[in-house]
């Protein structure tokens, strides 16, 4: 099945990003979830919540555990989340008498949300690199052509001459601000989710804080109170993603308009047509506009999901699953395309 172009064997060649998408594969998700269970067992054994033998047995079993994915799929269909079935399989793998200590005091949302955050950490590294690359390439463009001129266009009409830098700065400066913003929001985003059944870690008694701190440290995440029904960090990150694609969409739109009106820009490459061999379509520029509008649409859904009722909303949570990974991949794809597009600019201005 290939419903989304981000997953599509052909279309992802244009609209996707393999590195970003990789972090949303089943394999990556399960690996991160098992990493959570491993770290949890370690932390709980160290804090005396579960027996040391149990901790050791869980680690040993996890080292070679391979899930039965057909049963996991059926489990999702039944339970709405993969975790009950996954935990059941891990418990079987651990066996008696230690199996019952797997996932002790945790709940499905802990493992799923933390798995997401672990993978977002890697995604952020990837996106951050792509963002930096774009800043570098646009700076290079300015160094090479910045003092040339062309006609500014306001309200789609010729205005007065400006330098190339006057426009390229409007492509580059927002990206630099997005770098700064990413640094500011990452801390709040990359936080452990660990609350147990209803957020109180009630099974861990007075060791709850210690276990949570140890778990966060092992996973390399910030230690923070559970946020299972407070989704503002995710919505804020989604907003950031859409800011990035929006800025790149402006870049793409500008390039397409420059290509349309003629001599202000010279692009190498460009897409071929099945009907008109003479054409050089500004495909990457168009894709930037499409991805910007796509993320702007999706962002609405991530903010709808802020209305996350009570201690856990299945509906709002699933809405995030349907949207956030695609926004991430759209952003990575847009950054990749923008860097490629900048490299295609052979000259700009006169």
């Amino acid at each position: 099945m290939t419903v989304s172009p981000f997953d599509h064997p052909l279309l992802s060649g244009l609209l996707g990003d393999e590195e970003a998408a990789r972090h949303f594969s089943v394999e990556a998700d399960i690996e991160a979830m098992l990493g959570f269970e491993r770290a949890l067992a370690e932390a709980e054994a160290e804090c005396g919540i579960i027996p040391c033998d149990a901790g050791a047995a869980i680690l040993k079993a996890l080292a070679t555990f391979r899930p039965d994915t057909a049963k996991l799929r059926a489990g999702v269909g039944r339970d709405g989340v993969v975790v009950p079935e996954l935990v059941r399989q891990v418990r079987v793998a651990v066996g008696e008498p230690h199996g019952e200590f797997v996932h002790f005091g945790a709940t499905s949302q802990d493992i799923i949300d933390t798995s997401l955050v672990l993978r977002l950490r890697q995604v952020i590294d990837h996106i951050g690199l792509l963002l930096g690359e774009n800043v570098v390439r646009l700076t290079g463009l300015e160094l090479e052509f910045g003092e040339r001129q062309f006609m500014a266009m306001t309200r789609m009409q010729p205005a007065i001459p400006i330098t190339v830098t006057n426009r390229t700065a409007s492509w580059r400066a927002p990206l630099e601000r997005h770098q700064q913003r990413l640094a500011e929001i990452s801390g709040g985003l990359l936080a452990l989710q660990f609350g147990g059944a209803a957020g109180t870690l009630e099974k861990l008694g007075d060791k709850a804080a210690a276990v949570r701190a140890a778990l966060a440290a092992k996973l390399g995440l910030a230690d923070a109170p559970q946020w299972h029904s407070q989704r503002d960090a995710l919505a804020e990150f989604a907003s950031w993603l859409s800011l990035v694609t929006g800025s790149l969409g402006k870049f793409g739109q500008d390039v397409a308009l420059m290509a349309l009106t003629g001599s202000d820009i010279k692009l190498s490459g460009g897409g071929g047509s099945s009907a008109m061999p003479h054409k050089q379509n500004p495909v990457k520029a168009e894709a930037l506009v499409a991805l910007a509008r796509f993320n702007a649409v999706q962002l609405s859904g991530m903010h709808q999901a802020l209305v996350h009722e009570q201690e856990r909303s299945g509906a709002a949570w699933m809405l995030e699953w349907l949207i956030l990974p695609q926004m991430v991949v759209a952003t990575a794809a847009a950054l990749r395309l923008a860097a490629e597009l900048t490299a295609q600019i052979e000259s700009v201005g006169h």
Copy 2:
């Protein structure tokens, strides 16, 4: 890569629909595109636009043609559409001297849009069946429990007693209207797109109308003037999809609220929890709400894509690709889940 839950090996067990998703696979798309080329060659040979020998050679080659998908993927990355590379491969397969007659007078958008419509025709059959099944099941529910009573809830407060039918009618009646609406909009949607480079079929001369009519007939689609930059039928269909999921979202929300407040409904099954074995979560009801909100979000993007500039907008077109297939699968999944949820209702009312 499994960025979208609709493509996800595990999550699609809940949120996906295999039958609907199948029509958006690469295989289905290519099969439909090759079907277009086959019918085009036939129609053009019959109308004398291409030599009969060429037509026969194309049909023969297509009967065994297998595309090189790695090259198709690269082609999409380069051209923004798969068609130039696909046509190149088919021409190679046909060989000299007939290869040049492949895709004669057509352009990428003709084959891509028509492939979409051909697959939407099958999707509509599938969704129509699911819709009918839901009406039948809800009618059954009314027959069994309709005269029982429970307390109506207005503005989330108890109002006065109503019969079960008073509420189930609010689930069923919209679906019946959606059946009627689907019948009304299908005609406009299931129309051939065939215009050539810029919509004028300029290479077909005075036989353009005849070829187009023959092509439409062979493909079982309505014959209509090219609509390559008029996307209202697609946006209208997307609106219809969101009407369906919206109505099912109301059903899901109602069931979840009835399950929350206790004794008005009795559900079999229900999702298990990894932390609280006593729980029976109304997972399918929640999923209906999530899918309704998802499609309501996406719909905005399909309407943004109506601003399809000039004779062909790469940006607006790609935005459709990113959204419409997911809306279709979300709708099929919601219909499937709703039918299952209705079957889980063991009793309702008192």
Copy 3:
């Protein structure tokens, strides 16, 4: 207060439409609501639900009733709807012993939803006329310039020459389809809402159907079962509004691009600049794009409101109030602007 440009004394000169906005004034709303109460009293008196004397007294009082709007405003703040306070004032105006028969068997939603529908009926007439005017003007444009030519643009690149009609048809044909669609959906939209406290008209006993039919006839609306929690007709109408503005947005975008690239179009008028007296900005064309994107955004909210829980959702209902009137006025404004823009086209093509 002038938060919305549609209400703004200055900005509505461009983005608003007085005739459409008039139907959303307080005065129009109250007049329609009082018209409902009047017709209800008549229908209930005729059917023997309320005493004839009471009916006469209500009609007499309504003939001169003027509400205390300060108290209505306070009532909305308290009750979330204007109706309890409005009914209280009308009952005082009717006085003893007949006051209690005002609003008999009805509820707030009956009067508010029906008032909306009564005003949408007038709006639809207005929009229908504007739509027709646009079709006429675009047809005139085709008659005058249709056989001229210019270069088609696909993917923002020159393609091959086409006639003017090839493009203007892509502006006109969707509008003609929208006329047809409006005819199809109006019937379902212009239906009385009348259900009483929870949709059962429980206070009217076996005369409920007769009263409802009489009420619908007096108001000139279709008689239909209550639809208080089934909002599909409204969401469908919103979709239609966005289809219209989307098609006009394509027209606006095309004109702006033609004006940008030079000689394909010649526009009279055009907006002046405070910095560059030489400029002629295609203001109306830009506004069409803005209004198209605005409605595409809003549409998402009208579909979110389909998740209208139980017998009456205050939250989903208020969301409609926040959105639908603006979509209507945006559509009327876009149609007005499009007609004006067409009139500004002095020539097109070569």
Copy 4:
């Protein structure tokens, strides 16, 4: 005209906020625009760009200037912006020979965007106070009832008992984070826009930087390079607004659900019904959900407007006008309602 509930004489009693709306009145906008022209004349006179006499004459004329709003409205209809006509009127008021120095070197967007920012500064103060008041009231709620208990609800099903604080923290903690976020983003938002015709301040020569710095200082805004086509700070602010209303929507949804299921919460007040005098509808809670969903919808449009082509996009700019003021007022209204709703909570938990 009262198309938007935020402007509606009755509905704004519930859904509006007078103080926030006041900043979007024509009067406030014109006052801020004239403040820009005043400060510009002062700065340019001080820097020797315009004659001192001209500066003095402009200040004198502005002190008593009253615009002809009918002509301003016509100007917007013609030019798409109010500025050309406003500047014309001011020049007439200043008279010969100094009138030509009004608005010297500036363009419409400078004055309109800066007027917006000047008013957002006041809006932010207002919203910041409301936000603080909500944190205080929720903290008070915790102090009074925090150690009581009720049953946690996960996935709309009873889970395990939690304390009241466990839930109220999920209402309060996001608001505290939003306070921190507001502090972080305000700096970037409250920046002067001043670029002249195409962003280069070409008429000011080598004094451009000095004039801009002086102008910023006089207006109390940050001095920054022109951002006329870089709208990320506005989109980021819109995201923040939607984060706030989203968090309040969760609060409202929780309260409505608690009121639905009975004894966990006791509210004073509550809305009356025209049909059922016994009801106490949680109107403010519902309004919070509606406003959250409204802003989540609107946010999409503010991010669509990031695709702001070339040096000035009329279409993208107008889209902001249609959306941002409403998001601001929706947020202020939600904060006011949330504070009132907290005050209505007589007890929570057991």
